[in-house]
């Protein structure tokens, strides 16, 4: 037993992927990220209007949030928006990923990569102000005030989040199967449909889920782009914070937090599946 342990340590030391005390560091990171959430979850069950003085257990704030018509309305809008944005951005991201990995190297490929990932690099407020000005002229010219602006904006900033896992999957996939299909006279479309797509699917699903969460959580861009009556759950919550904050906000946040965790967790499980 003891000797086995030493052997393992010796082996680890020569493994290039071995990082000393990695589990400890990971644990510290997780603690720092999630410890602030604990009181939020805890006080969402508080039987009082106070946020940080415990009075007893109750579901009343979950009930209040569930029965709040405004919350229902903005939640449905947020979910619908996230669904649309994630579907569109994933389709575009899949095409972009194929066009940047399954073709011979060409000039400007690095630039295209940078352009696709621009929403990750550029501060959100810059994108928000730019979209505000851009859409304002369209709104003034057409008079259209629907949700399309939000769908477009969300699709745009979700693209890199779908793109990265899809591209990672494509780069790690064995090319020999696709080459074999081509050798057997499969058209490029048929190769994609029968070989690439099924192999790529976990990456696509992971990308779509990530995009869904990103869209669901967005505040800044939505606040600037939204048209009359098109509040989403996060912008509604932001508006609520101006005055008295009740644990109803904790309850909504907790649900949102759990949904996000589930989706991101599933993304991780799916994309790590070989």
């Amino acid at each position: 037993m003891h000797i086995n342990f030493l052997k393992k340590r010796n082996r680890d030391r020569f493994n290039v992927e071995y990082v000393p005390s990695f589990p400890v560091l990971a644990l510290i990171c997780i603690l720092c990220l999630y410890a602030p959430m604990v009181p939020l979850l805890f006080y969402s069950f508080n039987d009082s209007t106070l946020l940080t003085v415990w009075h007893g257990f109750s579901w009343q704030w979950y009930e209040a949030a569930w029965n709040n018509e405004r919350v229902q309305e903005v939640t449905l809008r947020s979910l619908g928006l996230a669904l649309q944005a994630s579907v569109y951005s994933t389709i575009l991201a899949t095409m972009a990923a194929l066009a940047t990995t399954r073709v011979p190297k060409y000039r400007g490929q690095g630039l295209i990569y940078a352009v696709i990932n621009q929403p990750i690099m550029v501060p959100e407020i810059v994108t928000a102000v730019a979209l505000l000005i851009f859409f304002a002229s369209i709104k003034a010219a057409t008079g259209y005030q629907g949700t399309a602006y939000l769908v477009l904006a969300h699709t745009a900033f979700c693209i890199p989040f779908s793109y990265l896992p899809i591209r990672a999957r494509l780069e790690n996939m064995n090319l020999s199967l696709e080459n074999a299909a081509a050798d057997l006279y499969a058209s490029p479309w048929r190769t994609f449909k029968r070989v690439t797509f099924p192999l790529l699917f976990p990456g696509i699903l992971a990308g779509a889920m990530l995009a869904f969460v990103i869209s669901l959580d967005d505040v800044v861009i939505t606040e600037f782009v939204k048209t009359p009556g098109k509040d989403t759950l996060p912008t509604y919550m932001l508006g609520e914070l101006r005055r008295e904050v009740t644990p109803e906000i904790n309850a909504i946040s907790s649900v949102l937090f759990v949904v996000s965790i589930l989706l991101v967790g599933m993304t991780f499980l799916i994309s790590s599946k070989k």
């Binding site: 946020l51 606040e223 009556g229």
Partner: protein, 347 residues
């Protein structure tokens, strides 16, 4: 005020934007752009039923966001509800329609003290929505002396030292300190600003915190006094009955949010109807019952909730009324001095 710096950045960005007016109109609609959690659903229903108009509410989270979106144009809103200190910007930028509320049929209901505010002389643009004050919230079980003085925060009595919270609002707090030293907010008198700075620097070590949210620390006893808004003081009293609200005799700060019609509104007639509607006592009371602040309309208190109609935090006692004043946006130069004082104090 909370985001003064942002406001400067955003408004300069927005100022460079093209202003395009809108011509599309839709019958029977009204788009209201208001602070989040600030529009009474009952009020909306009443307006919809009375005038057969569909109302859409959209939230904003700060004066700056609202200003930036409206300045950009094409926003689709008819009504906004900006704060008094921003009103001169909205007017001078040409964002508002001069609807002359002072000539509307219900203008007679506006309390005389609100008919001619400095920030909208003669009320050519705006109708009162909600107003309140920043004063001294004190737990009188801990300190039983006079609470109608800003000495509570600036030269605190022994009992309150180390138990004071101050709202982290630069404009309000420095303004209050300037009143305390016998000057006026936004003054460019360096000697007065120096005195205000000295008062703040000497008081700061006697405070325990500078944060938002006072209901809980009062309930738990962590603080026994705070410079804060009147509406929160009233709600704090519901949890901790010994908490009272003082109006500093040296001078205290008032705020008011007012209903305005935007220049590029698409439903101008409905928007004007709404302005007139907001000056009816019943409507104003509905707004107050939801937002829990006073409204500036005569006769509205008989339709208000009992706790609101009788709250000394909301209905300013007559003897304290003359000491309350509105603060404006200070000049850029004074703002720099303010920021200097604030930064030094926050260290």
């Amino acid at each position: 005020m909370r985001q003064l710096k942002n406001s400067i950045i955003i408004s300069s960005v927005a100022a460079s934007m093209l202003f395009v007016s809108q011509s599309v109109s839709a019958a029977g609609e009204l788009n209201i752009y208001n602070w989040g959690d600030y529009t009474s659903p009952e009020l909306v229903t009443k307006f919809e039923e009375t005038y057969n108009v569909t109302v859409t509410i959209t939230d904003y989270d700060s004066n700056d966001t609202a200003l930036a979106k409206v300045k950009a144009g094409g926003h689709g809103f008819d009504i906004a509800i900006p704060s008094a200190n921003y009103m001169p910007i909205w007017i001078s930028e040409g964002l508002l329609l001069e609807t002359r509320p002072d000539q509307m049929s219900n203008f007679k209901n506006v309390l005389p003290e609100w008919t001619n505010p400095d920030w909208d002389p003669g009320r050519h643009y705006s109708v009162p929505y909600q107003w309140g004050s920043v004063g001294m919230v004190v737990n009188t079980d801990v300190y039983s002396g006079d609470i109608n003085t800003s000495a509570i925060a600036f030269d605190p009595p022994e009992e309150l030292v180390g138990k004071i919270n101050v709202a982290p609002e630069m404009g309000d707090i420095i303004g209050m300190a300037l009143y305390y030293v016998g000057s006026e907010p936004c003054t460019d008198d360096k000697a007065a600003l120096k005195r205000a700075r000295d008062v703040l620097m000497a008081a700061k070590p006697k405070w325990v915190s500078m944060t938002y949210g006072i209901k809980e620390p009062f309930a738990s006893g962590d603080i026994a006094a705070s410079v804060y808004w009147n509406g929160d003081a009233m709600r704090t009293r519901q949890e901790t009955p010994s908490v009272h609200y003082g109006y500093p005799k040296e001078g205290y700060v008032l705020w008011m949010d007012s209903v305005v019609v935007l220049k590029d509104a698409q439903n101008v007639e409905n928007a004007k109807l709404f302005q007139n509607f907001m000056m009816e006592p019943e409507s104003a009371a509905l707004a107050s019952n939801f937002a829990m602040y006073a409204n500036g309309i005569k006769g509205s208190s008989e339709f208000m909730l009992e706790i609101l109609a009788t709250a000394p935090e909301v209905q300013i006692p007559a003897e304290h009324l003359p000491n309350g004043r509105f603060i404006e946006m200070c000049s850029a130069e004074v703002n720099k001095l303010y920021s200097g004082i604030w930064t030094e104090m926050m260290k």
